[in-house]
Point group: C2
């Protein structure tokens, strides 16, 4: 069966601080035109999306560079729920023997979608990112960011910059952000994360879908 | 294997007459911000996309109403190449015994992408649409529209309005437009056409992908 792991894209939805606002507004109507069309304004990292290496790497590949089959990802799901706001996710969530294309880290932080606290998600440590790179495995999170997101509530204890992004995207490994529903799927799924084909771009929104056998 | 059947989304790309222009422009850069982000402006029917019933049907469902598995489509591909501009596609392209979720009609008109003539594609007749509805099968085209697209070059012989849209969307059957590369895939494939999750919207861009066995 297939399960949608994507947030809806709608006017005023949460974004990364400083990213373009999202607006979806009608431009053609049944009454005036005989059909309906909307205009969408959003960012390349709006909602559930995939980061391209060029998001943080000066010479990184754009989102349309990879063969499409590379966005069909064998995924392992791990439980990282119950953590405090802005706390590190234990490195032990990265399995010792990890044979997957992407590790989906279920933090449960998608429960905060639409709240100010959504930006205060737990984050991966640089050493967890190193373990992922060693395994040749990307990461997907049900949060805004695998790195800490800068807000007024950030503490000096947090890694600065985007070390997890740098490690994974520098190694050409995928990062999927703003997933939802990771607690509703088995611990091994196939993740379809076909990004919108934005030309020469640093990332793209995606309808992320998990496929797994019915229990 | 997987094959991308989608046009790239880029500034100034072809659109349906009157639809929103497409623009993709940088809003964050490595030099200024440490990472790259773009803003996208487009329409709900930009590029390769799926129409929702609400595109033409006053009470039709929006694109986010269907369970995600309904966008995994068993597809049959038929050859409708070599037709003249603005000519009807013979009804005989719709097989008598059609067991599929979507009929992909390969017109070859994607060769005209970016040219004025792209709007002068062949089109399905209302009777072909009736055959599809009787088979419970949607349609995908490598052209702007399964109906004739209104331009200055339209003739009085063409069906007026959007009869194919009305028949298929009225029956809750999918329409996929602006596909590309239909001549590069076998005659039976699985089509993944997961639309971007635009909220309460009449359609959405999609990264359309075919899966088939290696020959």
């Amino acid at each position: 069966m297939f399960r949608d792991l994507s947030h809806r894209i709608e006017t005023g939805m949460p974004t990364f601080p400083g990213d373009p606002d999202v607006a979806l507004s009608p431009t053609a109507t049944i009454d005036a035109d005989g059909y309906r069309v909307h205009e969408l304004r959003c960012g390349s990292h709006t909602g559930t999306h995939v980061d391209a290496p060029s998001h943080t790497e000066p010479d990184g590949d754009d989102i349309d560079a990879a063969p499409i089959g590379e966005y069909v990802l064998e995924a392992v799901v791990v439980d990282a729920t119950g953590l405090a706001p802005r706390s590190p996710i234990p490195d032990s969530v990265v399995p010792d023997r990890l044979d997957a294309d992407v590790l989906l880290v279920w933090t449960g932080w998608d429960d905060h979608w639409g709240e100010e606290s959504y930006a205060d998600h737990p984050y991966l440590s640089p050493s967890a990112a190193e373990r992922l790179v060693a395994a040749g495995c990307g990461v997907g999170v049900d949060a805004l960011n695998p790195d800490p997101t800068p807000t007024a509530r950030a503490s000096d204890d947090e890694p600065s910059g985007f070390p997890v992004h740098g490690a994974l995207l520098g190694a050409g490994l995928p990062i999927v952000e703003n997933l939802t529903g990771l607690g509703t799927i088995p611990d091994r799924v196939t993740l379809y994360a076909f990004p919108l084909p934005l030309a020469d771009c640093d990332g793209a929104p995606v309808r992320a879908v998990a496929e797994f056998d019915d229990a």
